[in-house]
Homo-oligomer: 276 residues x 2
């Protein structure tokens, strides 16, 4: 799903380590040496050596089912600041919304051309949904995605709409003009809906989270069964929670990192870059 | 805090990449190039080159405050299976317990000589606590830690008790004989308490989670303000939830991975190990 995964090019060992880690996905969380080799696009001897070193460190674990991402890497990943501060500020509000609705609560950020889910709350009686922490879903077919897209830079919107958008269900809106009207509607109402557009049987009511006027840093959603008759009644709760969280972010001076990490200046690069 | 962090030895680039990632901690989530260089114990040129490659991949991000762990690494870390399956099975039960108590709910596993917190639920009205996802706390001073230690292999218990245990508050029990009596009590009652032993003002009521008789895979706790007068009343709720979760783990055939990842056999290693 992550189209940003580049094949290992260049010769740097870091990129080979990255290729090995990138080989794992939600669909393929465990890989045999052969599968890992194929997905990483490296010689088997290289894959084996690097994977063994990663196992030694704890970044990978190796068991009967093959290799899998290790707990040490999870632990380090939890230190990612973009996400962490937002999550910490958002969780109590998400919990309040869960208390009021007993439904799935999702928090997502824009990452590339996708919605990256950074937190969720799920009750035992809530609708079964496809989302998981760290999961990605398309912008055009989800409530959080539309809420994020509605306030995204025009170039990004144009890029997303120019692609061949996938129709997940008969309800998925993929026509660019129709989607643009939906985004205008989101900006007018402060709410984004996805009515069985990602999967049949579930609907999403979402709202953007602002760290400053017109600056969306995330989107919040309640996802419920489509059989629920009072979906419109959820809208004020979602909007109120999004407003509260936006206010807290502004009060706390939350500063979103730019989507694209700043690249080191080439001047510094040339003076410091040396072989290991 | 994690004493397992080994200094970069050997010459493998993987271990250098690991040293760079290991330099980050909850206390130092952002590092300047110089700080990163010092903590990683590598030449600055090497640190700079590897960090730049990691930024390019998304494993690190670089902004005004220096380097930090990137969202891509968080995303990959979320794939760690040990933790993920347990978390997915545990979360609805943790949510039920939160609904019933409105207090902090923690889930921790044994990792090395520490309790590693893999999930938590926090409400807006719950007591402020030091725990975070991916955080580590000592076994002897926490409720989950004692619950885990009570069922740990005798050698591990001996190792932990033989160390100079830190006294976090005047209430922290550090005398080995006294701690052993506490662990016996945990095994007798199925409950572990930490009464202001980690920090003043908060108490923890914990219970072990079993995937099979005598096989503890995690511990669950409610952490509340010590001013709460009815702490004993929380005990049945914690134990009932731990029992339900243990039953589900057994029904689902949950198989904990061994603590120590299986090392590849040296026979294979020697035949495949080649320079990249």
């Amino acid at each position: 799903m992550a189209e940003s995964k580049a094949a290992p090019q260049g010769k740097s060992v870091t990129s080979k380590v990255a290729a090995i880690l990138d080989a794992f996905s939600a669909e393929t969380p465990r890989l045999s040496l052969q599968a890992l080799t194929e997905r990483a696009g490296l010689p088997q001897s290289t894959t084996y050596r690097l994977a063994s070193e990663l196992v030694e460190w704890g970044g990978l674990e190796h068991g009967p089912g093959g290799y899998q991402i290790g707990l040490r890497l999870w632990e380090i990943g939890e230190l990612a600041r973009r996400g962490e501060q937002l999550r910490d500020l958002a969780l109590p509000f998400m919990q309040d919304l869960y208390d009021a609705t007993k439904e799935n609560i999702h928090l997502a950020v824009l990452d590339g051309h996708e919605a990256l889910y950074i937190e969720r709350i799920t009750g035992r009686r809530a609708a079964r949904v496809v989302t998981r922490r760290g999961g990605r879903l398309p912008l055009h077919a989800t409530g959080v995605g539309k809420a994020l897209l509605a306030y995204a830079p025009p170039e990004l919107v144009a890029e997303v709409l120019s692609k061949n958008l996938k129709r997940y269900t008969a309800h998925t809106v993929i026509a660019p003009a129709q989607l643009r009207r939906k985004l205008t509607e989101v900006r007018r109402t402060g709410l984004a809906f996805a009515l069985e557009e990602m999967s049949l049987g579930t609907v999403s009511v979402a709202a953007p989270i602002f760290s400053a006027p017109e600056t969306t840093v995330a989107a919040l959603a309640v996802v419920v069964r489509s059989s629920r008759k009072d979906i419109q009644r959820l809208a004020p709760a979602v909007r109120a929670t999004a407003n509260s969280l936006s206010r807290i972010l502004r009060e706390q001076g939350f500063e979103p990192l730019s989507q694209v990490p700043e690249r080191p200046r080439s001047r510094v690069a040339s003076s410091h870059s040396m072989a290991v």
